[in-house]
Symmetry: C2
């Protein structure tokens, strides 16, 4: 359990013992625990916290934050550590508050189609729990992330084109503020014009404005009928143009995902499948039996216009499951293209009218990048990722990949798009935030200073300074 | 044009002449103009501003705000004056910035299904303009409000159950801050995880955090098929239970509106119609021809379970138009029940499971209120209004109505609902905001102080102090 490279905790014994009064054995300064909590799934360098607190209640979080505020100690909330922009790196040390033991599903209200959970509940566990209610929680970022972390990063994923992102699906939050006060941002009405939209202010604030401890979510009825299909296309351009036409036709697809030929090849090898190694769209349709049929016929007819004639349907649940598992494993599959590599994933989102141009220019740009690269995307929203398989020891590669990512981000912003569709700003995108939003970033900074005047909440993230 | 009760402008001649340098003839201190700009459609006492500026561009607004900031002069933005909680009353005097001449539709992008407008464009004008594109803007609060005002109050209305409110339909804003800086809150990507959600922070901030000068909106495809129907019910309870069951069944109704028997009677007389004078639901279904048919069959079957057997269908556009015009005229129709009266409209919203109880208790409570009252509601969201027809000269009536409104608001909050579903806080609901959200209001105040340290933006609204 020893990690010689890690300096001992910088927290005083006095402070640690005050924390132990709150948590007992649930406070750890063990190097392995600290190391594990300073690292997410991104390429960013890990930065371990000085201690890790395994909180079990909002009140415990509030008590810990009060102590940290009194001693100017940074506080970093931690869910499952699956973030992708270094969100949980303790770049200024401090206390990591791990909410994974806050895993109670507090109340399901089927008649209101909502649920209140503690922040540490993961999305898969929530959906397992909901199974018998006929309801489900659609937001699906791939990783089995915690609901608190998903709210904090404004997560979305494959279903967002139909069901929205965390922005649209959080009804209210319980938040611990920077001084330990506890607030509830909204009651449970489906809509409200009561004051500033604090719910949306905290959703996507990445732990920098408060610590989310409970989340009330909208739920959706499990559709009467679901059908899914894959369809290969002659070219990337044909696939993307099919997406654009499908969205513009107003077909309410539940999922419409793009995998380029590199990704399809990787997925075939990794998941032992045999999709044609061409740019491919993965579709899913939700609705009544009749409605799904209607959507599928419309989408198929659009795809045919762009040479997508070989639809392969998956109507049985297990076939769909295998198909979407393959999609979710795309990053791991791509990493296996180059054993020992680490994945760096870009994440831009552009207006749908610019999507084809953005992806094609990016594909062209990739020709000069000296590492394997795979394009996947939640293309119905205009959102796509390039996964680049980097040798983490090779500085030249890392520089080339960073330069590529820089060009891609600027390309997206120039198209009136965003530097991040769903991963968030974290450590990695701060410079682009200003490029994208200019002086609006000063408004963000003013809000940050107002809500966290000491700057103890997840410092060094989202906004500079 | 003389209004003897109005004191002369409190603004110095020097300041006025600096404003005239910006606006020329488009600055007015005429009593009639000031009177007209201090009054919305609510029961709140009017409070005229000291001057009215008819701005034509974001830059003009910014220049005016800079002047006001330098002289600590309050600034109140004004769209169409159709707000319902005294939002535009100049309770501390100051400059009203009327944006009605900022009426340019700047860019329609059919392929992205979005549009950018100046704040003074009204929703009807926008939809007239869009007609040939096959797209429409669904948010419909009844009044032909300005898009800027609708964004500022987080407006919603009859279509919100299907299309969401302004919260879900604003993609980005141009905002003039309290010191005259101009920001753009977001680019045009459909989703973004880039920093704090400033768009949602300004939507619903009622002119207290910044002045919205341009709005980029999501548009929606005009449905292939639309059909509408009215259906009377034996009792209010049956009508409300039909709504609840319809929502819980996941039928994607575009509109589902409740009119109680008083409202139906008023509407019949006002609009020369002959609906049965019973509690009645107004439905509208949007989709493909097949989809609409399917929804209608399902809704009809649910209604039958609650005694709603007499569906009256309106498939032709002119029939639907007449029906919805009657719905929108419900307030005027109710006022005609008592000539010379003024309407006071409540506006609570509760979780759908509590809707029947909330409406029935409210109906019971109304028995002791000595003025005519009509219940209408966007019940699919759990949102309903009671319009009370008050003699504005009768203090006892006004007290009784205020006491009723107080009880209603507390009833809704106790049911985990909100004190305002769509009208906003304005002057009228400040005390309830704290009751509803507790210490969260202090967070709002901190945000307000950070963004408007001098407190010049629409002072006296939303939050105390």
């Amino acid at each position: 359990m020893n990690a010689p490279s890690l300096p001992p905790t910088a927290l005083s014994n006095d402070l640690l013992s005050q924390m132990r009064e709150i948590l007992g054995e649930r406070l750890s300064t063990a190097p392995a625990v600290r190391e594990q909590h300073g690292r997410d799934e991104s390429y960013h360098l890990p930065a371990p916290p000085d201690a890790v607190a395994f909180a079990r209640s909002t009140e415990e979080v509030a008590a810990l934050v009060k102590l940290c505020a009194a001693h100017d100690v940074p506080v970093i909330p931690f869910g499952t550590g699956t973030s992708l922009e270094g969100h949980i790196a303790a770049v200024k040390g401090g206390l990591c508050i791990d909410v994974s033991q806050m895993d109670a599903i507090l109340e399901v209200r089927p008649e209101d189609m909502d649920v209140t959970v503690q922040a540490g509940v993961t999305r898969k566990r929530l959906n397992d729990f909901l199974r018998d209610t006929g309801l489900f929680f659609p937001i699906d970022p791939g990783a089995d992330a915690s609901i608190g972390g998903m709210a904090a990063t404004r997560a979305s994923g494959t279903n967002a084109v139909r069901y929205g992102t965390m922005r649209e699906n959080v009804l209210g939050l319980t938040v611990v503020l920077a001084d330990g006060r506890i607030i509830r941002t909204a009651r449970r009405a489906r809509k409200s014009a009561a004051g500033y939209d604090l719910t949306r202010l905290f959703v996507g604030s990445e732990g920098t404005l408060g610590i989310i401890t409970e989340v009330t979510l909208k739920l959706h009825g499990i559709p009467e009928a679901i059908t899914a299909a894959t369809c290969p296309f002659p070219s990337l351009e044909d696939a993307v143009n099919t997406v654009i036409a499908t969205i513009q036709a107003g077909i309410p697809v539940a999922r419409i995902e793009l995998l380029d030929e590199v990704t399809v090849g990787a997925v075939n090898r990794y998941s032992k499948l045999d999709y044609p190694e061409q740019p491919t769209l993965f579709f899913e349709f939700h609705g009544t039996a009749q409605g799904v049929e209607e959507q599928a016929v419309m989408a198929q007819s659009i795809a045919e216009d762009f040479g997508g004639t070989a639809f392969s349907w998956a109507s049985k649940a297990e076939d769909r499951s295998r198909m979407w598992q393959a999609r979710h494993d795309a990053l791991y599959a791509s990493l296996a293209l180059r054993p020992g590599s680490k994945g760096m994933s870009t994440d831009v989102c552009v207006p749908i009218s610019r999507l084809a141009q953005c992806i094609l220019e990016t594909r062209e740009d990739l020709k000069d990048v000296p590492v394997p690269a795979a394009i996947v995307g939640h293309v119905g929203d205009g959102n796509f990722h390039v996964a680049l398989m980097v040798d983490p020891e090779n500085k030249a590669e890392i520089e080339a990949v960073k330069a590529f990512s820089h060009r891609l981000t600027q390309r997206a912003i120039a198209m009136d798009g965003t530097c991040t569709g769903e991963h968030g700003i974290g450590l990695g995108k701060m410079e682009y935030l200003r490029e994208e939003l200019g002086e609006a970033v000063d408004v963000m900074r003013a809000v940050k200073a107002a809500l966290d005047p000491k700057g103890i909440l997840n410092p060094g993230k989202v906004i500079e300074g």
